[in-house]
Amino acid sequence: MRKLPKLEPETAFYWTCGADGRLRIQRCGQCGTYQHPPFPRCSNCGSEAVAPAPVSGKGRLASYTVNHEAWVPGLAVPFVFGVVELAEQAQLYVFTNVLGREVRIGMPLTVEFEHHGDVWLPMFREDRE
């Protein structure tokens, strides 16, 4: 069970990009900086030429927690909530659930998508390649 994100003008691309299986992150067309969450202008150079750009979907686990508390009835526990530092840029972080049994900081990860109606949630699991 999940409460899904509202698709808002600046964030909808992130939640729908999994429709074609490719993760997108907002990138500045002027200076090339990635930023997440998306903003209407580049935090680095101020340009408004920001747009979703395909990324590798690879990264490393920056930190994680194993949640044991069933906050609402029916919530399946335990599960892993984590933060991924994407391969494209230092400190480019996205939150996720980490799938699979093993979990450790620094673990290489790769994206996959969990489809719910109009939302494709980016999820990550250990990258064994």
């Binding site: 409460k3 994100p5 509202k6 969450p37 935090s43 920056a62 949640n67 044991h68 906050w71 909530f81």
Partner: protein
């Protein structure tokens, strides 16, 4: 240098309402209880108060996090304020205090009452989910949209990421973290209104269930119904009042990171809290070694490590060894910490318990938890926005 605004303002009164889990009194009654007691503590009457402020104001969202507006509190108290503020954004819990300081220093008000009321225990009786991050609507928006879809439904899930990253980088362990909960509980035994006063051992701490690893049950604060009120006065008006004025020696504030969804660094620190700490020390000749006690925000125990380092009270990566064993943070230690029990044992007064406890110590009202000859106290608030003050008695 021009006179800093905080040097023109003193704390002249402070009080808390009764506390309940739940309380039979409404949030507005609890607010009036705390405000009237604080005003009387200062030796003032409501007609002397010309400003009123709170964090965060009143929200229709429910959940008991924002149950009372300053307008309705003023009406109930019989105050006709010239200056009024509800601050839901900014430097977290201390924002209305910082703003009241500037209002007083600018001459917009002379005596301001700042209150913080919570009714989260009552709200949880109606809906246990009322205090979660998921909100009442079908879909989640804003900053929570990045975490709630992954079932990070409580703030603990996000702060647990910081705890795990800190453990991993600095080799910290759960016993070092547990020392905070044990210390706070020992202090709460001497605080008559603390909600948890039964002794807690490190074994008890370690035997408790894991909520979100590495954080356990006793790393979490508890929802309460209660209110705290603080009276701030211009220093010229403070001299002849009932209590020795408590000087606001310095204040520091910052926003960033979690508040705006932009995480910087490696999740072992709260960078904006470090900026608040740097600002604090720029505004005083005092140093960390001059602090007689510390009231450090403990929504979760891990906040204490983050804040101790952000405020420069211990070097980066050393907070875990500083709290280990509890001797250095005990009432007779190097830096007595959360002397009233903090939020972990006294309940989630949402930062204002820490401010109130600073006044207890500096006015010598601590009884069994009094730190001997306490003249200075450093206080910090917040996990999303960051505020800190140094309070000092002559």
């Amino acid at each position: 240098m021009t006179l800093l605004p905080e040097k023109q303002v003193c704390i002249t009164g402070a009080a808390q309402s009764e506390v309940g889990r739940p309380s039979p009194r409404t949030a507005l009654q609890l607010t009036a209880d705390a405000c009237l007691a604080a005003i009387a503590d200062a030796g003032l009457s409501p007609s002397d108060i010309d400003g009123i402020a709170t964090y965060p104001g009143k929200s229709s969202e429910g959940g008991g996090i924002a149950p009372v507006s300053p307008s309705e509190a003023a009406a109930v108290l019989g105050i006709e304020p010239r200056w009024i503020l509800a601050s839901a954004e900014g430097f977290s819990h201390m924002a209305p205090i910082f703003n009241a300081v500037t209002a007083i220093a600018c001459g917009l008000a002379r005596h301001v009452v700042v209150f913080r009321s919570v009714a989260q225990a009552q709200a949880r009786l109606v809906s246990r989910a009322s205090t979660l991050m998921s909100g009442a609507r079908d879909r989640v928006d804003g900053n929570n949209a990045w975490t709630v879809p992954y079932n990070a439904l409580s703030p603990i899930n996000t702060f647990a990421l910081y705890a795990q990253a800190y453990f991993d980088k600095y080799g910290a362990d759960e016993a070092q973290l547990g020392a905070i909960a044990v210390n706070n509980r020992a202090n709460a035994a001497h605080n008559p209104i603390a909600i948890y006063r039964k002794p807690l051992t490190l074994d008890d701490y370690l035997a408790a269930r894991v909520i979100s690893s590495p954080l356990r049950l006793f790393d979490c604060d508890s929802h309460i119904d209660g209110s705290t009120a603080i009276v701030l006065s211009h220093r010229d008006a403070a001299k002849d009042l009932r209590n020795p004025p408590l000087h606001i020696e310095a204040m520091g504030m910052a926003v960033g990171g979690l508040w705006v969804g932009r995480h910087k660094g490696d999740f072992t620190e709260l960078p904006a809290a470090h900026r608040a700490g740097a600002m604090l020390w720029e505004r005083t000749d005092l140093t960390p070694a001059d602090m007689d006690c510390a009231q450090i925000y403990d929504g979760f125990s891990i906040h204490v490590w983050m804040w101790l380092e952000a405020l420069g009270l211990v070097p980066k990566g050393e907070a875990c060894r500083f709290t280990e064993g509890g001797q250095r943070i005990a009432l007779d230690g190097e830096l007595p910490l959360n002397t009233g029990g903090g939020q972990l044992s006294a309940g989630r007064f949402h930062g204002y318990g820490h401010i109130h406890e600073a006044t207890v110590q500096l006015w010598g009202r601590g009884g069994g938890r009094q730190v001997r000859d306490a003249r200075t106290c450093i206080v910090s608030n917040g996990g999303y926005g960051y505020g800190a003050m140094i309070l000092r008695r002559d």
